[in-house]
Each structure stands twice: as C-alpha cells, then as structure tokens.
C-alpha cells in the first residue's frame, strides 16, 4: 500500500479526488492605503492559482482595488509583494470581478450561495457543480468570530458556516479548502458543520497575525507573514507535482510567523495525506481518449443535392446589430423618485422668510403660532 502521497497511475488519480473542475474565490476585505498588504496577499495568491492552471473564468476575485491607482502609490499601476519592488503582482492581466464598494458581505454571500440577480454576468458568478473543488481565501482585519468588510460591516462565523451549509445542500462543491489570513483567524472556522471542508488559518483565537516587511520606498507593509511563507511554499508547486496537504499544514511555523497557524480537517472525508495541493490550487484535468467516432459520410450525399436546387448564391446581407438601445435611452421618461422631506437648507430658508415676515408685520402674530 502506498505510504505518503505518491499516486501510482493516472487511473488511480481519476478516482482519488472525484473532482473535474476547480474554482477559486479570493477576497480581500479591506480598503485604504495602509491595508496595502491585504491586496498584495490576495493578488499573490491569485497569481499562483493562475500559474497552476485555474483560468480567469473560474476565479472570482473580490478586491477594493484602490492600491494600484492610489494617489499615495509612488509607482502607479503596480502592487508589489516583495520589498525592493521585486515582484509586481498587479500586472496587466488582472481580472477583478468585484471591485471597490462591490466587495460587501452581501455580495460575498450571494456569490457563495448563488443567489445573484439574473442580470449578473457569468464572470461574477460561482458556477460550480457537485464535482468542483473550491478554494476560498479571505484576508483582512478580523476578530474573535467575525471578519471586517471594508471598515463598515462584518461577517460572523455563524453566517459563513450557514453559507457553506447552503452550498452543501445544493451540492455546489465536491471539496472546499478555506484559508484565512487575519487576526484570530481560527475563530472563523470553528463553527463549520458541513462535510468535506478543510480549513487553514494564520493565527489562533487571541493571537494577532503579523505583517512581514515594510518597504521604505512605498511606505507600507507589503505582505502578511503567513501568506508570504505560503507563497514561498507554492513557488515549488508546479501543475504536475504530487505534494500533499500535510506539507501545507506545516507552512509558517511559530518561529517564522510569531502566531500559531491552525487547521481543521475533521469534516474532510479523505485523509489529508492523500490530498494533493494541486487538487485545490491547480486545475489538473482528467482526460479520456476518444475511442469511437461516428461514420457520417453517408449523410453528405443527401445534403449535396440541396444546394444545386437553389441556383445562384445568395449573398448574405450583414447589418450592425444594436449594441445599445440608444433610442430607448434617449426617449426614456425620467424615473419616479421617492419623495424625500425637504433638506435642511430649504427648511432654514423658509424659517428665515417666516421670521422676516412676522418681524415686519408685527410680533403679535407670532403668539398664534407658538
């Protein structure tokens, strides 16, 4: 019997994981310049996941995306993940699906559970099925049992566990790997109760996750420690590698991370020693050789007679299809807006007018009002 994670043949691999496609949901929950490192974290994971094969159509990337073009960025259009500006993780082919103020708890839960309005385009949806392995990566500022979204709202660990349960009920995943890099990150996976979930966190309850290194040129911290060492680990992974999850659990021990990373595998049905890292981070396809084909040449003879009957060729007339219903937009009636009470300015103006009126015409009228 195989000891360790070496899988002998491809047929065996076909059955060992049970998934046929991979998805990734990468979320950075903070905004503002001093949270540069969270954006760099998410973008670095995005780069690794793309390098290992998951295409953009299968990645849902949620970022505030206010770093690259921030007024305080000394190198515009770049986001660096290593000091001395070695590695630009922004580049020119980043596809951010939810940016700016669209990164909210509501949108995140809608993406996970699939309850999006019908007008949502394909790239903003998580179209996974029961044979998809999903990687979910969250980073930002968190606390004991909650994660802060864009400094204005929070998601609690109960809501997250309920969202995963709804995904399980609808069989929207085969296996799910949840990685969180925030302070007290382990509290976010305490409440999970759905099967086939594996979780990793950068720090335990009561501990803070620390950042790695500041860059003097940019002026902020560039990465968090846990993600930095995670990415160093992922650099050695290529699409055909056979490294398994037990090695991933050893990433960033306390000596390097200062906080104690934790993981949770009790809900996972397979043994983590047999789960490949590329099962979640990469997108290794199963293939089968096509053995048969259909003989269609007999059909051609029937069809060849038809064009002869037509006679001359008819040139197809092409016309430009209406991209935007311009006529509808121009002639649109203005929308009925809800009535709002008058503003403070209007109220102040009317008070002034009333006072002046009563001043000129005599004070005796005032007592009828007050």
């Amino acid at each position: 019997h195989t000891a360790g994670c070496f899988i002998t043949d491809n047929v065996g691999q076909f059955f060992s994981s049970g998934h046929t496609n991979n998805w990734a949901v990468l979320v950075c929950t903070s905004r503002f310049w001093f949270n540069y490192r969270h954006v760099a974290n998410t973008l670095s994971v995005y780069r690794s996941v793309k390098r290992l094969g998951i295409p953009d159509s299968h990645i849902v990337l949620m970022l505030a995306d206010d770093m690259a073009c921030n007024h305080r960025n000394p190198k515009p259009a770049t986001v660096f993940s290593h000091k001395n500006m070695e590695l630009n993780v922004y580049g020119d082919d980043v596809e951010v699906d939810y940016r700016g103020y669209e990164v909210t708890v509501e949108n995140f839960l809608r993406v996970l559970t699939g309850r999006l309005p019908p007008s949502t385009p394909r790239s903003k949806r998580l179209l996974s099925d029961d044979r998809s392995n999903i990687l979910i990566y969250l980073t930002g500022h968190g606390g004991n049992g909650f994660l802060k979204f864009q400094d204005s709202e929070e998601i609690s660990n109960v809501e997250l566990a309920d969202a995963f349960e709804q995904m399980w009920q609808k069989r929207r995943y085969n296996e799910l790997l949840f990685i969180i890099d925030t302070c007290q990150g382990a509290s976010m996976y305490e409440r999970f109760y759905s099967p086939n979930l594996m979780a990793l966190a950068s720090s335990q309850v009561g501990e803070d996750s620390l950042s790695h290194q500041p860059d003097v040129g940019i002026g902020v911290h560039l990465m968090d420690r846990y993600t930095f060492y995670l990415l160093e680990f992922l650099e050695d992974i290529h699409p055909a590698s056979k490294t398994c999850m037990n090695d991933l659990f050893k990433v960033c021990p306390k000596s390097q991370c200062v906080s104690t990373p934790g993981h949770r595998t009790d809900l996972f049905l397979r043994d983590p020693g047999s789960v490949l890292v590329t099962d979640f981070f990469g997108s290794v396809r199963k293939v089968e050789i096509t053995m048969d084909s259909i003989n269609l040449t007999s059909v051609v003879s029937h069809r060849k007679e038809e064009p002869a009957a037509n006679g001359e060729l008819q040139k197809e007339v092409y016309s430009y299809s209406d991209q935007l219903p311009v006529s509808e937009i121009i002639h649109q009636k203005p929308k009925q807006r809800d009535w709002h009470p008058p503003d403070g300015f209007i109220l102040g103006l009317w008070t002034l007018i009333l006072l002046v009126f009563f001043q000129t015409y005599g004070i005796k009228h005032l007592k009828h009002i007050f």
Binding site: G53, S57, S283, N295
Partner: protein
C-alpha cells in the same frame, strides 16, 4: 397645595397669643383631615394613571411592536414538501412481445393475447425506494409485420417495421422469430434496432411440443437483458439519484460515467473552436455553418425534449498547446502521450471565452491543426498505440481533436496553403464525444447481441429513451432535494422574508413534482420528463431567488443591546408604580384584617 396653606397658617398663628393654642390644634386637626382626603384622591389618581399607562403599553404597545418587527412569510405547502422527503418512485415500462409465425403452435396462438405485469422492488436507502413495473403484452404478428420480417437482412426488416407503426417513447417492441429464420446470423441472438424495436431469435431447444409457460420462461432472461439495454437498468437509475443519495463508490465504470456526463440542466452551450497556431503556413477553411446544420443539428433537434442547445463557433489564431510534443522516430511523427494530455487544456481555456449572458454549462469542442514544424501530430494511448480518432475529451468540459494536414501539400507548396477541412470526419469525432458528454452510455452489449449502427442523427430512439429515463429521475431527485432543503432552511432561520413569488414557485414546483411522479407511474415518459423539467426550473428559481439572503442575523446579545436603551427607561417607572400599587393594596388588606379582629 396642602402644605403651602399649612405653612401660611403657621405664619399667621405666630402672631396669635398662647391662649389660642387649643383652637390652633383643632384647626390643625381639621386641616390635616382635609389634607388626608386630598392625598387620598391624589393617590387614587396616581394609581389610575399608572394602571392605565401599563394597560396601554401592554394592550396596544406590545402587539404593535410585534407586528411591526415581524418578517413577512408567505405560506408554504410544508406538509406536501415533507412527503417528498421520502421518495418512492415507480417506473413503468410498456413492452410488447410479438410472436411471428413458426414460434407458437396454433392452439397456443389462441391463448397468446395476454398481459403480464412484473414488479421489481429496490430499496436504495432509508429515504428512497424504487419500484420497476414491466407491463408485458403478448400478441401474434400481423400480416404486414410478417412481410416486414421476411426481408433479407435485419436492418431492412427494422426499417420496414418502423414504417408500420410509431412507438411512443418509453415503450418497446420485441419481435420473436423462429430458430430457423435466416434474418440474424449464426451467433447472433438479438438484434437491437435504431428505433424502439428488437428482434429476438428462439433458442434451439425450443422446438415443437413445449408449453406456453416454458416458452415464456425461456424468453424471459433475454427480454430482461433487452430491457436493461434499451430502457433502463438499476445502476443507471441509482446513478441518476446521486443528488439525493451519496452512494459508496461501487463499480468504477459507473463512477466514471457519472463524473463524465454533465448534470441535467435546462440548456447547454456548445462552442466549436478552430485553433490555428500557424497562420503563416496554413490558411484553414472550415464550413462550420453547414456542418453544424447537416451533422449536429439533427442530433440536437432529437434531443430537444431534454434540453435547449445553443451553438457558436470561433477561430483562434496563434493558440498553442501547452505541451511540447516529442518526435518519435519509429513513427516519424510527433506524439503526445496520454499523461501529458491533462496539461493541454488549461492554457487554451483561458483564451476560449464564453457567452456572458447565460449561466448554462458550456461544452467546448476544439479542432487543433498542428503547425508545420510539428506536423504530423498523433495522440498515443496508455499502451503507446496511436489513437484512431486522434482525439481526447475531458469529463464535463468537452473534447479536443488533432487534425493533421501535412499530407495535403508538399514541401514546394507556396505558403500559406489553403486547406479545406473535411467536416464529416471532424464532426464524426465531435458527435461521438458529444454523446459521451451528454450521458449516452456506450457500454458494450452482452454476448450474442448486435446493436444497429447509429442512424444519420447519431442517436437511436432507445438511447434517447434511456437518456429520458435517467434525466427524469435525476430531475425529480434534484427537485425534491432542493425543495426539502429550502423548506428546512426557511424553517430554521426565522428571519428570512418569504415573498409571495417564492411561495408561488414552491407551490408550482410541488405540483409539477407530483405530476411527474404520477406520469412516471403511468408510463408516459414524455410527459414525465416535461413535468420534471418544470419542477426543477421552479424549484431552482425558488431556491436561488436573490431575496432569500439571510442578512437579518442578529446574535442575541446584540438584540438586547438594541432594545434595552429604548424600553428600559419607559418600563422601569411603570413597573415600580405597579409594584407600589400592589404593595399598598396588600397593606390595606392587612389593615382591614387587623381592624376586623
């Protein structure tokens, strides 16, 4: 007021001489009596005020607060939904067994028109039970059918038999021919036609002098095998129930089949892509429009009861495979071996694109023409043999075919060379892959069985029936799980608002489910599939409605933190005054008791 007049009195009395002290005390007594009367009135008024405020708060305030803070929840048919938690499906198949001349003796012929019903029960798990009912009707052949069976070959006989009658979907006809008939060749017992007929030959032991019961018993195992092939087998149905029942890994082939085929969906998108990595050498022409119309559209029209299909096509230039092929000297061609095929798809997929408007699953079919430097390119299977079709497919994704063009032009040709692609060959491979990806199983038939080659549409009627059976069962299973989990979710989380449209969708899903199960019992496969599709559409729409987002989650300590500053300052005086009223009443009662004694 009382105190004020009293102090005024005391001021006046300060001027009175000591002779008037008695009158003063009298005056004081009478004054304090009136004082006591006024305080009594005061107290009563105060008690009445406190009681009425408490009454208003409790009778008017609390119900008002309750009604304004409750969430609107429309009525759901919860009891009917609970019934679906335990699913009992009855699948009923109509089979006709037609005896031709020479198979039954004349006296048996009189007994033959009869009907038999066979039931098979299976229990899948504690919540799901399956029952298969086969209604077998026996009869003798008509004169026209006898003429049709006299044709020289089995396929001709098949064709003329179709001309006679149309069989509704879900039903089967088995023609029994005598052992002496030359319609089937020596080692073949059963011929399965393109539509819903099969021709079965009696075995050698069934000669004259046997009873009808013996004849039927002899036929039964082979009829069963025919049924398993042409309508459904237990493994197919349990695989279709995978949404409801997480089965332990059984047969490897079944797992591969279930992983390969797309899940049931109301629509699919098919994209044909031509990859030309070397436009400088090859100028490729593929007449995709007419090829789709000629070869693919008939198949998709036949599959119309199952799903809608939309087709598009594109050409990609300078699209390379992600893997470098190796030159094999023994074959004098470049080769891709089976292990490296897995890494071919990802770099290409990033460039493929898809229709942004729909969320239907996409089937990608790629035709790759290798560049001039790496031609010809062959795919090797695991045994290092060249694959005849030169194509491979990936489960739930699509297929890739490599089309070599190096034999079309010689070394002295002027580049770029115009090349017309033979669409019949290409479409033959793509259609085979399409069949596999949609779930048309191509398992090898049992020994002694011959299956007619595919018709011009690429799909036999009985294969369509098989697909319809498994799709109906899959839809019913998925819809029941969706509905039950939705009901459970809404029950668990009391804060979710249930709008009227969701309740409507749930009710229509329940109705459609009941109809679908009833039609399956009756054996009307077409209607059953239609109702099951409606059921699954309605249940998915209800489950994934954007308004069902559970955003009203408040932990209990937050609820207290919101309500305490509002209600506590108001409730404390009321409570204290009520307590005071109660204690005063108790004291008075005690005094009255003491006075009585």
């Amino acid at each position: 007021m009382g105190r004020w007049s009293h102090s005024q009195l005391s001021m006046d009395e300060g001027h009175v001489t000591h002779g008037g002290t008695v009158t003063l005390s009298n005056a004081l007594c009478s004054h304090s009596q009136t004082e006591m009367a006024t305080t009594e009135v005061e107290r009563r008024r105060g008690q009445l005020a406190a009681l009425s405020i408490a009454a208003v708060v409790i009778i008017v305030g609390v119900p008002l607060w309750w009604r304004t803070t409750e969430t609107y929840r429309a009525w759901l048919p919860v009891s009917q939904i609970k019934e679906f938690a335990t699913l009992q499906l009855l699948l009923s198949v109509d089979v006709e067994v037609v005896f031709s001349r020479g198979t039954v003796s004349p006296e048996q012929q009189k007994k033959v028109p009869m009907t038999q019903t066979q039931d098979e029960e299976h229990r899948v798990d504690e919540n799901t039970a399956l029952k298969y009912r086969y209604e077998i009707r026996y009869r003798t052949a008509t004169i026209m059918e006898e003429d049709a069976l006299k044709q020289p070959t089995a396929s001709d006989a098949d064709l003329s038999l179709h001309a006679l009658s149309e069989n509704p979907c879900g039903s089967l006809v088995v023609y029994v021919i005598p052992e002496s008939s030359s319609l089937l060749s020596e080692d073949v017992d059963v011929y399965i036609g393109q539509k819903r007929t099969a021709i079965l030959r009696l075995g050698a032991q069934m000669r004259v002098g046997r009873t009808l019961e013996q004849l039927l018993a002899h036929l039964e195992p082979r009829i069963k095998k025919i049924l398993h092939m042409m309508s459904f087998s237990h493994t197919d149905i349990t695989a279709a129930l995978s949404d409801r029942v997480r089965l332990a890994p059984g047969n490897r082939e079944n797992i591969v089949d279930s992983m390969r085929a797309f899940k049931s969906s109301p629509g699919y998108e098919i994209t044909f892509s031509l990859l030309n990595p070397d436009p400088k050498s090859h100028r490729l022409h593929w007449d995709i429009e007419s090829a789709v119309e000629t070869y693919v559209q008939p198949l998709l029209t036949k599959l119309a009861p199952i799903a809608n299909f939309s087709i598009d096509s594109q050409t990609l230039y300078y699209a390379m495979l992600g893997v470098n092929p190796r030159f094999d000297i023994s074959r004098s061609s470049y080769t891709l071996n089976a292990e490296s095929l897995a890494h071919v798809i990802n770099p290409v997929e990033a460039r493929l694109g898809s229709n942004a408007a729909s969320s239907n699953p996409v089937l990608n079919f790629l035709l790759y023409v290798p560049d001039a430097l790496h031609s010809p390119l062959h795919i090797l299977d695991r045994k290092k043999q060249a694959v005849h079709s030169n194509a491979f497919h990936s489960p739930r994704w699509g297929g890739i075919m490599v089309y070599n063009v190096n034999d079309v032009y010689g070394p002295e040709a002027v580049l770029p060379v115009d090349i017309n692609i033979n669409m019949a060959k290409v479409m033959g491979v793509f259609l085979a892959q399409l069949r596999l990806l949609l779930g048309v199983q191509s398992s090898s038939p049992p020994p002694g069985f011959v299956v007619a080659s595919c018709s011009s549409t690429g799909l036999a009627d009985w294969e369509l029936d098989r697909l319809m059976w498994s799709r109906s069962v899959e839809n019913v299973a998925t819809a029941t799980t969706t509905i039950t989990s939705l009901a459970q979710l809404l029950d668990q989380i009391g804060n979710i608002v249930i709008n009227d449209n969701i309740a409507e969708q749930v009710s229509s899903a329940v109705t459609s489910l009941q109809l679908a199960v009833a039609e399956l019992e009756a054996g009307n496969l077409g209607f059953a599939l239609q109702y099951s599709k409606e059921a699954i559409l309605a249940s998915e729409r209800a489950f994934f409605d954007p308004s069902l987002l559970h955003l009203l989650y408040f932990p209990d300590d937050q609820k207290f933190a919101i309500y305490i500053p509002l209600f506590l300052p108001m409730c404390v005086p009321i409570l204290l005054s009520l307590i005071k009223i109660a204690s005063d009443a108790r004291q008075k009662r005690r005094e009255k008791q003491a006075k009585k004694d």
